[in-house]
Symmetry: C2
Subunit: 85 residues, 2 copies
């Protein structure tokens, strides 16, 4: 078993309301960053897990996303990277 560090990005689905992103966009414009047209806010998670190889680690984190980490109705997730820790 090797320890892997798997990065996951979870973002609100395109087309759904993203009130947090809108609030950040408005705050940036107020601060003087007038060229910002849109902001999306999601979560970035790094999971350290033991697995026999990188594909097994990725499959395991994918199952975690489906069962707990991401909301399947409103969010999409992508596995951004798998590296040995």
């Amino acid at each position: 078993m090797t320890r892997f560090r798997v990065a996951v990005q979870i973002i609100p689905r395109r087309g759904l309301l993203d009130p947090q992103g809108k609030t950040v966009r408005d705050a940036l414009v107020t601060l003087g960053f007038g060229s910002v047209s849109d902001v999306h806010v999601g979560r970035h998670m790094v999971v350290e897990t033991d697995a026999k190889d990188a594909p097994a680690a990725e499959a395991s984190v994918r199952a975690m996303c489906e069962r707990l980490l991401a909301n399947p109705v409103t969010e999409d997730f992508t596995i951004a990277g798998v590296v040995a820790a």
Copy 2:
């Protein structure tokens, strides 16, 4: 001016308490993912902004992180990617 989509990852500094990550780790273990040793939870943001080129877009988002998006005391940020939108 071109529109760029800049991805930023903001994570709690290593060594600082990450109570949200600890809670997620415990929940994953309870769900049966016993091989998970640690979880870090941060934010993933995608900023759409107009700039003359990619380095200018990156510099602009770096300034936004320093002024608003990241807490300089407790968080580190990395610009994960700059693509034309």
